[in-house]
Amino acid sequence: MASGESPGTQALRGHGEESGGALRTEIPTVAAVVVTRNPGPRLERALQSLGSQDYPSVAVLVVDAASEHDPGERVTGALPDAFVHRVPQSSFAAAANEALYTVRNATFLLICHDDVVFDPGVVRLMLEEAYRSNAGIVGPKIVDADNPEVLLEVGRSIDQFGNPHTGIEPGELDQAQHDAVRDVFYVSDAAMFVRTDLFHELGGFDASLFPGAEDIDLCWRARLAGARVLVAPEARVQQPEAARNRGDGAAADPVAAARNRVRTLLTLSSARTLLWVVPAGVAASFVEAFLLTITLRRGRVRSTLGAWWWNLRHFREIGRGRRRARQGRRIDDRDLRQLRARGTRMRGFVAEHVASDDRVRSIADASRSAVSAATESTRQPLFALAALLALVWVVGSRHLLTGGVPAVGTFARWPGIVDTLSTYASGWRYTGLGSSTAAPPGLVAMAGLTTAVFGAAGLAHTLVVVLAFPVGAYGAYRFTRGITQEFAPSAVAGLAYALNPVPRNAIAAGRLGPLALFALGPFLISIALRRADPVRGVQQRRRTLTGLLGLGALLAFTTAWYQLAPLLLLAAAAAIMVAAPLVGGFRIGVRMLVASAIAVVIAAVLLVPWSLALLGAGDDPASLGFSFRPRLDLVDVLRFHSGPAGGGWAAWGFVAAGALALIVGRGPRFAWATRAWIMALIGWALVWLPARFAPDVSVPAPEAALSLAALGVALAAGLGVSVFVEDVRGRGLGARQAVAVLAAAGFVLGVLGFTADAGDGRWGAPDGDWPAALAFLQTERDSGGFRVLWVGDPSLLPLDPFVTGDGTGYSLTRNGSGDAQELWRAPSGRADGLVGDAVELAAGGRTDRLGHLVAPMSVRYIAMPSRAGPGATPQAPPARLPGALASQLDLARLEAPPGLALYENTAWIPTPGTVRSANVDRVPLGSKNPTGAALRADVGRVNAVRGSPSASAPTGPGLVLWSEAFDGDWSATVGGKALRHVKPFGWANGFDARARGSVSIDYGGQLRRYGMIALQAVLVLAFLVVVWRSSASRRARPPRVRRQSP
């Protein structure tokens, strides 16, 4: 046995070389570096297989990575010529890197695991291929040592997110189907044949990427350096399948492996690739985490989600790695694209991300473990119930999943990523009659989610809607877990929350904001409550700071979807304080309130400049969501019956289930049950009190406040389990047991209600939508730009309606039925108010010329729905509206599906449109009374300007009308010459075109908008830096102080 006593100075000899002779072979030397740690029984076979290679110049170095027992004797016994070198590092990569210092005069390195058995010609074949193909790294075909007919690997690839992929199905037989030499993205370090000079140039493995990514990283860097990575399938090695993904005898750490793969991805991808990989990868991880959760593999959720989070927090180190990688980069990412697992959208996602190698095995494992899972489920009824309800949830969502979400209310169709981001970046908001206010960040969130599903906007939309159930459930689980520290109560609370009618009614009515609030609200309250812990010491203060920043970020995200989200947080804090006189905890309430207030400020800062625009919406509360006048009585409110769900007795079940903790609970359980019920009462009161005492005041959608009530009831129900265990079970038969039985029956009743609602497969949502029914509108654009004015009950209108004084709602869509680009409309401006005035005048019978009044707004169609969509439950429109519309002299009624009255405005003016020169004098300019001006104006025929407003077809001469709210930044040119800007009808834009030509209408405030986006980016970056510093400074945090368990 040779002993590597002086690494870096000792040269290895080939075993064909005479020990003391001067004769040296001319063939290149191959140094086999076998890394071992606590080797198993296959070590000897592995060494012997190296010793029996038919290539004459193979030296073997066994690097022992701190085994508990010195393997020297076993090595000597198996291969006397082998060198043994013991190192203190326990990592495979670090141990393998010893070859950098130990090996001399070897042209190639064969780095391998200690359980890999080589066929006799492997070294020769790989060496020959390396020369033949001028390859830097060559890998063999790997088969299962226990069943050599089964393939394990013939080179590897990675998908867009760094997940390994072999292309080999589990159990796939080796029938020479992969036996062709080919370039691969990487080969695993189970047996890696690498040119020594390349290994030195690359600096060996990056030891920090072990486990999971050291081989990916090495091969990737080799690729970037211009070296080829090949697989030579004729060279065959055997490795036990069970020992895959280990190199040192230790069990693989999936968390570290996932983390390291992401780190490799972030380090070696080009900046351009990272632009989409990062958001897409984060989102895909969430999806995968969800899939793992519902397939009861919760243990892997942490690795899936944590990988990205960990790396984003360590971006400084990644930055250093990227700088190093950049220095050695000789080729572009695009040259590697064909070596990576590819596919399109969902097929790619399923085939390459979800179904990447280990996942395929996981799926196979899942089927194999079905029996054990079933067995476990009998031991854990809650899991079984959750699984059953998950199935019901899928069944109940089946039409949404397969057919998409109908465009009802704010469930407007999501446009593509580019359109969404363009809308966000636009300096002019094309909602209502237009506004220069900032676009909502919800568009960015929407684009991000769409990116996560590879541009499938409809799928993203559907997932956002459908996943509200499980996300909300998990939030409620977390919330309750933070209080009880117990699984069963938390699980029951999560289920009770998800099964509440609130999300079903939100889906039925198409209320995206309240649905998002339902999903994310429990997380917000949970985090805020955690921040209510008393703070002692520097570490806790830092942790609290980090938590507050996280709360602020989550609140900002939630607010981007629903502007009133902060109110929920404040209401929850208020509930704690209101409960204080009964059960104490005033300080908790105060601290939670303070935390909530701070989070609101943080969210407001993160959402600048949109949040500033919202501050100016005081005159238009409808733009904030105050646009509903629900006719709900107390019974309806208490059973969450704001829509088709919860109409029966079933919803009373959860209320009954929540009563147990209140009636029987003791000590902290009673205290928290009281707080939960106060929370529920506040939620109910926020809906019922306005409906009862101020029915003519517009309020938010009832599902928003009812989310708070649902969470309170769910918490109370969860606490009921804790009460049952602690205060009921084991006691003598009595009233407590009876109450417990009633509570359990109530829960079952709620479950039955949920199950019953699953029947229609869409949770009460209409089976169609108006955009589909009015698809012909899409083609009408050819006749000129136009708007559709939707009037009626605000709860039935698309998008975010305006509301007139008498409660009549109206919204405007452009060139069709509208899409999500028009969501989160800008606060009403003066021009928008004119539309409301016109609607009020018509509804009040004070004009029969509604068409003329809205003609300058380019309103071509007026639609009055009496249902949320085709097939939905009819609701009466505002009393006077149908008659008023029918009485208008300039509205022609068109055929429309039942539930929709559709009129065409015979006085419509297209936008942009050109008034002939002869009629220009008939256009009222700068009128102080726009309504009167529109009423009496007769501008004659207005010709639609064809083509894009920024480069139209030739038009004019005449007055070019541009039906956007007047703004000095609008300008128009013809042939590069600026046109005089006037204010037709007292609110619109007009440009005096003296000659015929192509008109270009531009908004001059675009640069300002870019500046605001930059400001927002700076604020977000500053926030991230603060978060990073805060989290970095609390790395060595003390154990968490847990709240007293009830």
Binding site: L632, I663, D848, A879, L889, L891, R893
Partner: protein, 478 residues
């Protein structure tokens, strides 16, 4: 805590606490506006009036003149649009109506639009839309023919159903129904008739297309032959229309001469008031009660007069889908003006219309009809009080309420003015009628007349003169 929660739930569950947020009940003003033409509110930016019946060429069977009155605070502009139907397009004329003034616009001065034969025996003629920009306007129209004239308010709104109780196709009576569709989409209308011979639904009068922005006239006598009483129901399947009816009694008619004009009722009601019945020599007054419901009903007809003790009501059975005619001469005393209250005693509502005619020995000759009023109001406006200085014109005010009402007759100065001046005042006892004689009070034909009362009343105008006779309700001010 438990009590609070339990209490809420118990109250909610046991007593079903309901919100009061239901849609507000229809206001009185709304009910009035639904039943009869009303003066446009002060905050109205544009009030539209629809005048269905009339012809637009000299020498037509019912030459039409529009009368526009402005009760607003400022000068108003009005656009009179004549929609001739057929291939011809509408023509408009804008006129200015000074404050408190009355403007007359002859339809033929806007557009010469003679009636033309249409499809299936129908006639195409001009309909008139008057848009008044500004509030508090009143529009009436006057038609002239057969040596008679008729004046009455135009409609303030279109509808899907129109009912007429009066009408006849007996010898010498030319009954016409004017169906006016001022909207930009076509209307489909069914006409059915309740006659003293039973219910009639002529096949040719089902699914009549009333093209957009046009008016068709249905010569009812061509479809319903020789019926003494012909009540009409126009039901609009698609769209909305305005319907008026006129009857020309020619020399062939044995009992009547002249021309009548009625605006339809939008719906049957259970209570009607008919003011302004003046028994006199040569005058025939009758009330026509039409029941469009298949079920038979019964009405009580009560004369109301200040000068006579209350008479017991007369019960009149009205068969399902039929008309009953009641001669009012038997109800009131001689020479004593009275009003008539008509109430149903069974669930089926009815439509009530007055038919009057004058002939020798009376100085005037002519016929007139007027729909009863199902509503009451504190104000009534007439765009015109008298048509000519020599006319005998009265404004009858019926107080159907339980208390005394003080009623003032106001008139704007000739040519307009800021506010109307009081020209007369009467105290009208409960359930009684009183009347103002415009000749005695010196109200000129170009003055706008307003009735104001301190209690809800019903006011109607009667004009008798050498040019003919007319009866009409005022335009209500809810």
């Amino acid at each position: 805590m438990l009590l609070v929660v339990g209490g809420c739930i118990a109250v909610a569950a046991a007593f079903g606490v309901r919100s009061t947020g239901a849609a507000p009940a229809t206001s009185t003003a709304g009910a009035v506006a639904q039943a009869v033409p009303t003066v446009a509110g002060a905050d109205t930016v544009s009030a539209t009036w629809y005048c269905a019946e009339g012809t637009g060429a000299p020498g037509g069977r019912a030459d039409e003149t529009i009368l526009i009155a402005n009760e607003g605070d400022a000068e108003a502009s009005a656009v009179v649009t004549v929609m001739p139907g057929g291939q011809a397009g509408p023509e408009s004329r804008q006129v200015t109506v000074p404050r408190g003034a009355q403007v007359r616009v002859s339809v033929s001065s806007v557009l010469q639009a003679p009636e033309q034969p249409g499809d299936a025996g129908l006639i195409v003629g001009p309909g008139v839309v008057v848009e008044v920009f500004g509030g508090r306007s009143v529009v009436e129209h006057e038609i002239e023919g057969e040596n008679d004239l008729a004046v009455g308010p135009c409609a303030r709104q279109a509808g899907t159903d129109w009912y007429f109780a009066g009408g006849t196709t007996e010898r010498g009576a030319q009954e016409n129904a004017a169906l006016f569709n001022p909207f930009p989409d076509d209307a489909i209308v069914d006409l059915t008739f309740a006659t003293d011979a039973g219910f009639i639904a002529p096949a040719d009068l089902q699914s009549i297309a009333v093209p957009r922005r046009s008016r068709i006239t249905v010569p009812i006598g061509n479809f319903v032959l020789r019926q003494a009483q012909v009540a009409l129901h126009a039901h609009v399947r698609t769209g909305r229309i305005v319907a008026e009816r006129s009857t020309a009694f020619t020399a062939e008619n044995e009992t009547r001469r002249g021309l009548t004009l009625s605006l339809g009722a939008p719906r049957p009601e259970s209570s009607w008031s008919v003011p302004g019945v003046v028994p006199e020599d040569g005058a025939l007054h009758s009330v026509l009660v039409a029941n469009f419901d298949p079920a038979a009903t019964e009405v009580e007809i009560s004369p109301r007069s200040e000068q006579q003790p209350p008479a017991s009501p007369k019960r009149v059975p009205v068969g399902g889908r039929s008309v009953a005619a009641v001669d009012l001469a038997s109800l009131g005393g001689p020479e004593a003006p009275f009003a008539v209250d008509v109430r149903t005693t069974r669930p089926s509502p009815v439509v009530v219309e007055e038919l009057a005619s004058w002939g020798p020995p009376n100085a005037a000759t002519g016929s007139a009809t007027s729909l009863g009023s199902p509503v009451r109001a504190r104000g009534w406006t007439f765009a015109v009080g008298r048509l000519a200085p020599e006319d005998v014109a009265t404004i009858s005010v019926f107080n159907p309420g339980p208390g005394r009402a003080t009623v003032k007759l106001l008139a704007y100065a000739s040519g307009g003015g800021a506010a109307p001046g009081s020209v007369g005042e009467l105290a009208v006892p409960a359930r009684s009628q009183a009347q103002f004689d415009l000749s005695d009070l010196g109200v000129a034909p170009d003055q706008v007349v307003v009735v104001r009362a301190d209690a809800p009343v019903v006011a109607a105008r009667r004009i008798l003169g050498p040019t003919g006779a007319s009866l009409a309700l005022g335009v209500a001010e809810p």
